[in-house]
Amino acid sequence: MDFVHQLIQQLINGVSLGSIYALIALGYTMIYGIIKLINFAHGDVYMVGAYIGFAAVTIGGLPILPALLISMALTAILGMLVERIAYKPLRHAPRISLLITAIGVSFFLEYTSMYFVTPTPRTFPEVMPNISFNVGGFIINGQQLLILSITIILMAVLTYIVQKTKLGKAMRAASFDTETAQLMGVDSDKVISMTFCIGSALAAAAGVLVGVYYNTIDPLMGIMPGLKAFVAAVLGGIGILPGAVVGGIVLGVVEALVAGFLSSTFRDAAAFAILILVLLIKPSGLFGKNTNEKV
């Protein structure tokens, strides 16, 4: 295999990994945009989504798409509940209290799940035939295409909601200035609740897709992707939706290239080095405007 061939194969690997980071990062960045909270429990919401999808497929015997939708719906409700119970009472508390609560929620979700589903990893049954396409010597997997296409569809739906609907307008207003938006008649509690709802549904979709693609899920699966998605969100400019998508894909590609051409030992180091570099050089991220307020 020559260099160019390997490079293109690594790009394919990177984009498929990056599109998962992007889906999780979208939820992170939406929630940050609205209430300035880095929701460390987001990775665990993703894990719960994967388990709900797993239950729908194995116990419910459903095909993949209905299972995905059910998981998104139930996880959306979970996201709203988390917000209602854990974050809403702290709306006017210092931000650090909120952050610590998020870490608490994260542990709560991890270990409650571990209690109920046991720490043993579960294997997803084969819900779709695993076809590999050999396009001119490059291997593309059917599941990679599924992930990529569902990611694109969900991003399109999200863009439509945020840009074209009344709810989206309210969300953008609230993210700009919550108090002023409230004075203009925007029900900010409802907007925040809906943000958690949409963000959690996206995380659930990512969880189910990861379960299908990589074949296993376990109660601690959300920790690393959660952190990586956080890096992706910061890289793209936290609070900015297109930034999360680009940040996720860039991160996935960088990881693949580092593992492929330098050493796989440095892969995670590279991901977090990006975080440090972004914070040092351009804290507002790739897509961020340079304001003093951000980060």
Binding site: M1, P119, T216, L220, P225, R267
Partner: protein, 403 residues
């Protein structure tokens, strides 16, 4: 300062509650003191209390929980058969939380509060090494079911008097696999793909490299991943360029399953070799039957052997799923401890002495003889090939052949 009536009432209730509970616990303590106070040895009641210190939560929970299940089955069988020397064995469980410091805390609690006379666990090497100092200081024997690192029982060339294990050690595994690769598979080149977050994986990789190169082979590439990784394709694409005869992946089954699956998806057809971390039926579920063709690993027992059928059947009856290697080794550790107690081990010192002299003891995975010089059991090792999802015994290296 001003208390509203309601608040004051609440506060006084809490205060009363604290007082009352203090009194009650005081009484409880007194009673306990009364019943055991007369006897010199804590085990002299009608129960024998042992401690199970396993990783029940955290990153290694899946290993710890399985080993704990195996241990509980062994003890339950002994109790159902009328106990040991007429006494029931009681297990007190503590959670090592997959961290060395917590493992020490749990062991300290078991020894000082629960007065256990022997400890089983934890599953993972680092947690056992951390715990072994506490056990040695208090002269309480440990049997570590699955900690395969040589340093667990030996420190600076000296055997730790109170630390034992019920499994073979890493160098044996790597030697067996390196020789298997060179002789049986005629491999000339190998790639190491190691879990850089695990001492287990790194030490196995190091010894494999030494042995494989001593036999005339060459390790042409070393790559690494981290436990809990999901995506291995980037590193595997690189490994593919090395075009080696074998890929050695000494790691645990969850990652192994995914690595094998993704390697085959990328079109890597080379033989993939592994060690006892592979030994779980989940590997087949994760990787798929076809992907696992042309893979080989060494482990503690072969589930088709006649002598392990009893254990497998009992385990399925109790837990309704297939035992994995951790469960089997936990069960063996339980059997060893029961045997040591049976032969007159009614305090920690005697149990220690009896474990050291275990000879030809039938356990779940075969027969065990303890090597008093190293506290490692002398035990066979098997190499298993997976064909269409079914395990086949490829080689069996007898205990004499080791060392």
């Amino acid at each position: 300062m001003f208390f509203s009536k309601k608040k004051f009432k609440l506060a006084s209730m809490i205060a009363c509650g604290i007082l009352a509970s203090a009194i009650f616990t005081g009484c409880g303590g007194g009673e306990q003191g009364g019943s055991t106070g007369g006897d010199a040895k804590p085990a002299a009641g009608d129960e024998i209390v042992i401690g199970a210190n396993f990783e029940l939560t955290g990153n290694h929970a899946q290993y710890g929980a399985n080993a704990n299940n195996g241990l509980k089955l062994a003890i339950k069988e002994a109790n159902d058969a009328g106990g040991v020397n007429g006494k029931k064995i009681k297990i007190v469980e503590a959670d090592a939380k997959s961290e060395a410091a917590e493992s020490v805390n749990a062991a300290t609690k078991l020894i000082s509060d629960d007065k256990v006379i022997a400890l089983i666990g934890p599953a993972v090497t680092a947690n056992v090494i951390a715990e072994s100092q506490v056990a040695t200081d208090n002269k309480v024997p440990i049997i570590a079911p699955a900690a395969t690192n040589p340093d667990v029982t030996v420190e600076n060339g000296q055997v730790k008097p109170f630390v034992f294990r019920s499994c073979f050690i890493d160098p044996q595994q790597s030697e067996v696999m390196a020789q298997f690769a060179a002789k049986d598979l005629n491999a000339k080149t190998a790639v190491l793909y190691l879990d850089s977050s695990s001492d287990y994986s790194k030490s196995l990789g190091k010894i494999f490299k030494e042995r494989f190169e001593a036999d005339g082979g060459k390790v042409v590439m070393e790559e690494a991943f981290l436990a809990k990784d999901q995506d291995f394709k980037a590193a595997l694409t690189k490994i593919q360029t090395a075009n080696a005869d074998v890929i050695f992946v000494p790691a645990y089954y969850e990652e192994v399953g995914k690595i094998v699956k993704q390697a085959r998806e990328l079109g890597i057809i080379a033989a993939i070799l592994g060690t006892d971390g592979w030994d779980d039926t989940k590997v087949v579920e994760i990787a798929g039957k076809d992907a696992l063709n042309n893979t080989f690993f060494c482990t503690h027992y072969f589930d088709g052997d006649a002598e392990v059928q009893g254990f497998i059947k009992a385990y399925k009856g109790e837990y309704n799923n297939e035992p994995n290697v951790f469960a089997a080794l936990g069960y063996d550790a339980g059997k060893m401890l029961i045997n040591a107690i049976e032969r007159g081990g009614d305090d920690s010192q005697k149990i220690r002495d009896n474990i050291e002299t275990i000879k030809d003891l039938p356990v779940g995975t075969g027969k065990i003889t303890m090597d008093a010089a190293t506290h490692n059991p002398i035990k066979g090792i098997v190499v298993i090939e997976t064909k269409d999802g079914v395990r086949e015994l490829r080689a069996k290296i007898a205990p004499e052949g080791q060392k």
